[in-house]
């Protein structure tokens, strides 16, 4: 069965540290991948998406993600985090036309 795995449930970093949040999926066919973010007290919002083409995708607020097909991964990165990046991050996989699967999320806490 298709699934999405986010290995880090809780990450704590200091400001200016580099960030990489893992996302692995299980599905052998064509995929579309998303990262969503939920800031404290706010609703989920789109951070970036991958449909096809360049596997390195740039999103809002300096985030990027790289689709590595051979590793079934779509890790989220940011070279230097800010306190305002404190949030919960969700990776999501779309399979075919009718199935979307979210990971369990990673809570990121940035120390000022």
């Amino acid at each position: 069965a298709q699934s999405v795995s986010q290995h880090n449930h809780h990450v704590i970093l200091s400001e200016a540290a580099s960030l990489e949040l893992g996302c692995n999926y299980s599905y052998g066919g064509t995929v579309n991948l998303f990262w969503y973010v939920q800031y404290p007290g706010q609703h989920l919002q789109l951070l970036l998406k991958y449909f096809s083409g360049d596997p390195l995708v740039k999103g809002i607020k300096g985030f990027e993600a790289e689709f590595i097909k051979s590793k079934f991964s779509f890790n989220l990165r940011k070279p230097s985090v800010q306190w305002s990046d404190t949030a919960e991050y969700f990776c999501a996989l779309v399979v075919g036309d009718d199935k979307i699967i979210f990971g369990k999320g990673t809570r990121l806490h940035i120390l000022p």
């Binding site: 999405v4 579309n32 998303f34 969503y36 706010q42 609703h43 989920l44 919002q45 789109l46 998406k49 449909f51 969700f90 999501a92 779309v94 036309d97 009718d98 199935k99 979307i100 699967i101 979210f102 990971g103 369990k104 999320g105």
Partner: protein
């Protein structure tokens, strides 16, 4: 502009009661989605509408769950004979694209607690 609006924000019900959760999507959005998010989990897909047509309800956990969108705008998720395991945040999302394969705009959710 106005985002996706869900009401009520919080709902407490006794086990066995029926509840109705409302979603007002962004005006003009054709696609509408419902998700259930249990504590410590990611959103789990429940059902999906394109305009008034319910295209997929494979995620509804039981026949106690029912969703409708009769005029292709506002949607209601109804849960009959609620059980404790129904306690969760119910998220609604909409999209101005056809299909599930596009970015979605989420509401703040309704937190449902079943006593």
């Amino acid at each position: 502009g106005a985002g996706v609006s869900q009401s009520p924000r919080y709902k407490v019900a006794k086990r066995g009661q029926d509840v109705a959760l409302r979603c007002d999507p962004i005006s003009g959005h054709v696609s509408l989605f419902w998700y259930q998010q249990a504590l410590g989990q990611g959103p789990e897909f429940l059902t999906y509408f394109q305009n008034e047509a319910q295209l997929d309800k494979s995620g509804l956990p039981s026949d106690r769950f029912f969703a409708e969108r009769p005029e292709g705008s506002v949607s209601t998720l109804k849960i009959q004979r609620t059980q404790q395991e129904d306690s969760a945040v119910y998220l609604c999302a909409s999209s101005d694209y056809w299909g599930i394969n596009q970015p979605q705009h989420f509401g703040d959710g309704t937190r449902l607690s079943i006593l």
